[in-house]
Symmetry: D2
Subunit: 369 residues, 4 copies
């Protein structure tokens, strides 16, 4: 069943709540012999870490990741890797309000309806804090990819904040780490800074669209029919908190095209097939083509806002709620490293699966084939 | 691993190729005692059946489904149900062209690159014909839902063809079966008829957007964090041939909203919580709220078109291809019953999972809770 | 969940009942490019086929296996392989007695208690007839092993009938197919023939012990801690109808040894490690050593006997039952090819798993390692 | 895949090595609302804890278990429960010898051949220390059973040490905790004490047979064909370190019986079916009958002995080895609580599975049924 697990062969089980003593990821199926240490993982943790600028939650967590098992003398052993992150800033406060009231847009009410018990402190298990464990696991997946498929390069960035879209013609990947939004378009980044400042001050929040691209993915990854690369990416991204839509390549816009427009025509290049376009987002029939794998997902606005909203209490009384506390005005910002982590895990998983599944080598294209 | 399987407890494994002797679905985990027979399944098969009007492939298949196991004296026994559909209209023809050339937009090239062998006849395993098996399994899921959760009602329809959108203000669910597009907006349906006629004559094709809604789903279904209801729906829909995007509730548009706009406020109604809106598509934190579960997905235009496109041969030579044969100008039409089938399977699966998972009853909301 | 499925990557789902129209195996995860046809599978089916001599059930089934999918032009394609066996000799008879009474030692009562419905005809799903599907799948596994690990050789044989044990000192593997008991000891075989004749005539039945050996299994297969090679073999054998015990290597007798006696000492041979003995049955820590993998399992006596036994009816009345019909006096005989099939599936599965799991090559032993 | 995981719905993933900072169990699928705390788990940990008498390893570990997630205000929340046990007594020593030499009977050589790297400190992942995590998880399973199926009572005990068997006629369950061998036969216990003293002094070790019985298991648990209760028990027990054989009911001895002898006849009792005997060990067709579920398994003698044994080094040289250190002369003693833990996990898992799987209630037996 593995309801808190993703992956077929590289299996990541996350555990832990927002305000418990710790959270983490139990990773089973990491290949042996991979060079990895805590510092390598911390690099990615720091990208997601809260409190880095005024646009992310002011909760102060070092998010220091510890490797408790599965690594010996700096290399993985093929046994489960336990990655633990202790929660240190569990600000002591009165939870009475959210213990009784269901915050609209949050999982408070549904966890209650499902389980009949909920850890209301900071959202408990449904807190975005759970994604810290994913980023740790993603760091491990990147280390494995570096060893097994060094051509793979994964980059995530924000392409839309609220109604304001970045302009692809201005994309410069070098810009991504230079602004707090991981935005490749410097003009949009400047615009978003002003926009988000105003929103934040008004006690409101806003949604976003994130794009994650994987370059250098070998052709042939993906397991049709129900373990397709795009199927697994859709599940991976949709499982991130607050995500409401997932697109591969042209995504929803593919509906508006004709077959003539949509065809990614093929030419023979010096090193194999070359495509004249990439409407498909690098995936055909659920299998990678060797082009860039392109995924986009929308993140809804943070539900915790200072604007009063109507809701009910556990005992069924109508009431209002204002969600005070430390919240990201645009939670999409911190979803960027999370999306990258999920992409890394899915690509690695399918790389391993491809090895296990295929007896004969995949088909060659070229003279005599 | 189960790469041709979906579901946690209600597990559907589809098998078969477009031009093999038969295809089908092996369904493990159907609860016992469910009343079902071949006629009940055939009802849904007929909805998807090709050759019903000029907008769907002229391949003539009765698509008669046979129950080979798991049903005794008209009721399921709790053992695997084998659903088989024989292929009868495997039009004998020369496959030489597509045996050598890779059709752009199809999985021809990636299956070759992955497996080093492919059944090129009609697309083999990657043919949309595989979805017949899903519809059969979906029929069984509906029979089980009718017994176990009779409030559940699942309806799919087309809301966009190419760039032309249906108008929600005109939706009338009674219209859906009255036009060949399963469109609830009669004005749009008439418009699409003209539009698609012209496209078909020009040898082109077009994409579409399908919406599937499940009403009467009890609150509490969904298994966070990685078996969320929306995660599983995203995977289910993305696994359908030609799907490139999946949305829950507001989907990609959620990115453009503020937190104030996006909040689905809650009031206490006579029978439990009532929401003032449904931006979330009936799912919070991966768990159903009791509202309508709303999923949308885009289907890319049929890749088999009469317009010549550039491609390469297996031996690496540049060439052109025109895909003759019997093809749907808008494959999205027949994706409607497929989307419904996937919804039925996912809802049933989570209903069973919820029973198995929960020791205590879910939480009550109301006085004294 | 996959409750009718075994295997991690080579996944076999069997379906079908004793007296339904057909039964079979849906095999997902067979590597592509494997040469296989129906005749190759039939070879193994014929070994298990009923009615071949006076010691097996006189039900006349050709047990002809059909390949419905996953094979194209004589080779597997990497897509699911559907293997179907039609039931032809469903002797029409009055089932009234076993419909109402629970046969002692059979699953009649427990299927009823679990499901509230049962296909009582010939035992339905719990009939040993289900093992025909396993043998078909095992044939496919053997074909894959022949291509991927040609050194592997799998042999099953009976080593005990009732209280009478074969004598290892007399074992001659060439004797196995020469007697109806697959016994490598010709003296025991002759003795068993007399013994079983008498039992059969008295309307009684008897148990047996089967041993299955796999030679040429490469070192390194097995996935600790819970997908160990011995764990998976134990599950595979215990899942066979009527099996009550499973042993690896010395098995239960290992308990009586001291550590000094039990140690399989190691010497360096020209081609790698050589062991001075094989108490461990070729498996250490769940991983193959490269020695013979040795599994034994006991099969209880056929529960269907002509001797009257006490039982109850569905409505709770005490009664007696005599199970007439066509039954094997020693069902262990036909368990031999079934045990071989399970061994083949498990070994192949772990071979595939090993490929997928391991990034670095396994460790070398020798100078400089 | 989940190669370090067992269970279908109650899924336990163990992690950690003998000499790493910690080890533990990630438990996914525990029902919500179960009362549990660290003290309840510690009760079972203490039963397995090393260093309690002269017959178990003198490694001093408090084996204190911490609950890091999934429990809120003393009750489970339905989210993953992380159970961590820190390793405190990692006696600093020179591992040079076992780093280079492969200990016969241990997994040293096979881990190396599989992974090309191994944590040789104390056996690393293949150490019996891993079973501490199982006992913690088993404690949680017992807490859940206490709430959901309070009739279930699980008892393990040793029935054979080396060649010396306990005598069932003398069994008194009250004796079990009174001797260091968990033996229900006080005469055998006294005899074993002498026997093991002598063995220990001679630097040798010995095997054992453990029996685990579950009383009060409701009829109807078990999921045929490949998730049978006996199949899962066989896998669970065989996965325990050093186990070489598993038996259900009469086990291997069932082979020697005739059908007449083996039949567990049925009579109608006041509360349902009553059996005249229990050769089947409480399981028919993979489903529980309501009788005692009886499992036995053999544990081979500890491979770490003071007697010199021949082996090879990693670089392929012949050598000898004496395994010094703190080792149990009869590791079977500490396998008793481990076997109990596995039984608890399997029974709970099938209880949950039964709830999820069955739509209709199971069948009633009695007038009018």
């Amino acid at each position: 069943m593995s309801l808190n697990t993703y992956g077929h062969l590289f299996r990541v089980t996350t555990w832990g709540e927002s305000h418990g003593p710790a959270l983490g990821a139990t990773v089973d199926g990491c290949p042996p012999g991979i060079a990895v240490d805590e510092a390598m993982l911390q690099h990615w943790m720091d990208k997601r870490k809260p409190g880095q600028n005024k646009y992310t939650t002011q909760r102060r967590e070092p998010d220091a990741v510890r490797i408790l098992s599965g690594v010996f003398e700096g290399r993985t052993t093929g046994t489960p890797v336990q990655l633990m992150i202790e929660n240190t800033d569990q600000r002591s406060k009165d939870y009475g309000d959210i213990a009784e009231k269901f915050r609209p847009g949050h999982a408070d009410i549904t966890y209650w309806q499902k389980y009949g018990i909920r850890d209301y402190r900071g959202g408990g298990r449904s807190s975005a804090r759970e994604t810290a464990a994913r980023v740790a696991a993603g760091g491990l997946a990147r280390a494995a990819l570096a060893a097994l498929a060094p051509s793979v390069e994964i980059t995530g960035y924000m392409v839309q904040m609220g109604p304001r879209r970045a302009e692809p013609a201005r994309y410069d990947m070098a810009e991504i780490p230079r602004n707090p939004f991981w935005c490749p378009d410097p003009v949009a980044a400047a615009d978003w800074a002003e926009y988000l400042d105003a929103l934040r001050k008004s006690g409101d929040s806003v949604g976003a669209v994130i794009e994650v691209v994987a370059r250098g993915v070998p052709a042939g990854l993906g397991a049709p029919i129900y373990g397709k690369l795009d199927t697994d990416l859709a599940a991976a991204m949709m499982s991130i908190n607050a995500v409401k839509g997932v697109e591969i390549g042209d995504g929803m816009a593919a509906a508006a095209l004709t077959g003539t427009e949509n065809a990614d025509e093929i030419r023979m290049g010096p090193d194999g097939p070359v495509y004249t376009s990439n409407h498909a987002g690098g995936i055909l029939g659920g299998i990678s083509t060797g082009q860039e794998v392109v995924v986009r997902f929308s993140v809804k606005p943070t539900s915790s806002i200072l604007t009063s909203r109507r809701t009910i209490t556990r005992s069924g009384e109508d009431t209002d709620i204002v969600t005070k506390g430390r919240h990201d005005p645009c939670v999409g910002i911190r979803a960027v490293p999370v999306g990258e982590a999920m992409m890394a895990c899915v690509i690695l998983d399918h790389l391993l699966l491809h090895r296990g599944q295929v007896g004969a080598a995949g088909g060659r294209i070229g003279p005599g084939a």
